[in-house]
């Protein structure tokens, strides 16, 4: 029987190893698996390569892992969001290696990993500092940059509803990076507001098929930064 449900957050993040590449979903306050991140902080994994759009806070989400000193490298498009106190001189985050990636390229590099595409060409960033050192190729008279897939060990994602097969549905703009991160990691762990059972999700309305998901954990009252419930 297929049953991706795990009992609690500790079980959800068990086995994530030091040095892992970890995708963390979300954009702004929407779709960030804050509870899984908190569980990962408690689990103790360190020297992580963290991949996500950016840290909007040092209290929850991506920024929490950075503030706790668990991140060796951060691959992001907007690493320091409005209101974040990270990356200030003297801060613990100062030693974090940063790789800045255009947001669309970041999304496509993640999706590529999930789709078995090791590299692809894009016009984005051609001729800019963010394409420096990257191979280029001309197609039909225009220049493009070769971008590589971002393979990951673990994805921590958030969705609204799951079933025991690990199928996921989202809400609003909380979808963002979560469905593509689910595809890109060897092990995808989803926190959801609700797990329906025994009936499955409607097959027409599933955004992430359960094949991409290893564990789901229900967190009804999810952790949010104050005033952003």
């Amino acid at each position: 029987m297929i049953d991706k449900r795990v009992a609690d957050l500790a079980a959800a993040v068990a086995g994530i190893e030091d040095g892992a590449t970890v995708l963390v979903g979300g954009f702004g306050d929407a779709g960030v698996p804050n509870d899984l991140v908190q569980a990962l902080v408690e689990q103790g994994a360190k020297e992580l390569t963290l991949v996500g759009n950016g840290a909007i806070s040092e209290v929850v989400g991506h920024g929490r892992l950075i503030a706790e000193g668990r991140v060796r490298k951060f691959i992001a498009s907007f690493p320091k969001g409005r209101g974040s106190k990270l990356f200030e001189p003297g801060d613990a985050s100062e030693s974090v290696e940063l790789e800045i990636v255009p947001q669309g390229t970041l999304a496509e590099r993640i999706r590529a990993a999930g789709a078995g595409i090791p590299g692809f060409y894009t016009a984005t960033a051609f001729g800019t500092p963010l394409a420096e050192g990257k191979p280029t190729m001309e197609f039909d008279g225009n220049q493009f940059v070769l971008e590589r897939a971002i393979q990951a060990d673990v994805a921590l994602i958030k969705a609204k509803t799951a079933d025991r097969w690990g199928n996921l549905a989202y809400t609003g703009t909380a979808r963002n990076f979560n469905p593509i991160m689910a595809m890109a990691a060897k092990r995808t762990i989803a926190q959801v507001s609700e797990i329906i059972d025994p009936d499955p999700l409607d097959p027409e309305y599933i955004v992430t098929p359960g094949i991409f998901v290893e564990r789901v954990v229900a967190v009804a009252d999810d952790l949010r930064e104050e005033g952003r419930q």
Binding site: D29, S77, L98, V101, Q103, T105, T128
Partner: protein, 236 residues
């Protein structure tokens, strides 16, 4: 001496007026992405009777106005991470699909801010250089610059120190090469076409020579150059 400086500071469109003017050029039925800052004020100035679908790169097409206080849904936010709403006909999608819309050339217009624009339409709007800040942030700017059918830039004509923002060649880190199609400033509207920069509209207080004096690149005057005007607005 003392009466010229205040006058020079007063002339030209306000930031809201620049946004208003750009809004007039967005045709009914357009799909448009509005960057952070001045571009985001465009929706309140869209002429009535036009249905324009706003794209928010975090996974939303058909973005509506901000919600009323108390109605915020923090799972429905805009690219500036603030709560928003969805209009009838809107849709949600994930980030790769959202940037397929941008990078696949499906947006009619991307409206961006600028630090510098070159005479070839190169844009610099994401970084003031390695020394300016410890943490660079690019977001979707490079995708929006490279991908949209038309890129409009909204900007003050000159920096606060008076130096031109429209230049022969950008010295700030580039966002994209030859990507800007039209520049709306407080003083003029300038198109980037194959051969260079063409001035389409100038505020009534200034001459073409005045615009040239405040621009760091060669300009051509359009045969049918018009007066750049906008209604007065109270700043919110």
């Amino acid at each position: 001496m003392s009466d010229t400086k205040p006058a020079a500071e007063k002339i030209g469109l306000s930031r809201l007026q620049i946004a208003w003017r750009a809004a007039q050029d967005i045709a009914d039925g357009s799909y448009v992405n509005l960057g952070i800052g001045m571009p985001m004020t465009i929706p309140r100035f869209l002429p009535e009777g036009r249905e324009i679908m706003l794209h928010s790169e975090n996974g939303l097409l058909g973005m509506g106005p901000p919600p009323a206080k108390g109605d915020e849904d923090w799972d429905l936010i805009n690219a500036g991470t603030r709560p928003t709403t969805v209009l009838p006909g809107g849709s949600f999608f994930h980030h790769a699909d959202s940037f397929a819309i941008v990078r696949g050339g499906h947006l009619d217009i991307s409206v961006l801010g600028a630090f510098q624009i070159s005479e070839k339409g190169d844009l610099a709007n994401w970084s003031l250089g390695p020394s300016a800040a410890r943490v660079p942030t690019v977001g979707g700017a490079m995708d929006l610059a490279a991908g949209a059918k038309q890129v409009y830039v909204l900007t003050d004509h000159c920096s606060r120190d008076g130096s031109p923002k429209i230049v022969k060649q950008c010295d700030l880190p580039l966002t994209g090469l030859a990507c800007v199609n039209r520049i709306y400033t407080d003083l003029a509207i300038i198109d980037v076409i194959g051969e260079g920069l063409v001035v389409r509209e100038i505020i009534e207080e200034l001459s073409f020579a005045d615009i040239e004096a405040q621009t760091g690149a060669a300009l051509r005057l359009s045969d049918d150059c018009k007066a750049l005007t906008a209604p007065e607005f109270e700043d919110a």
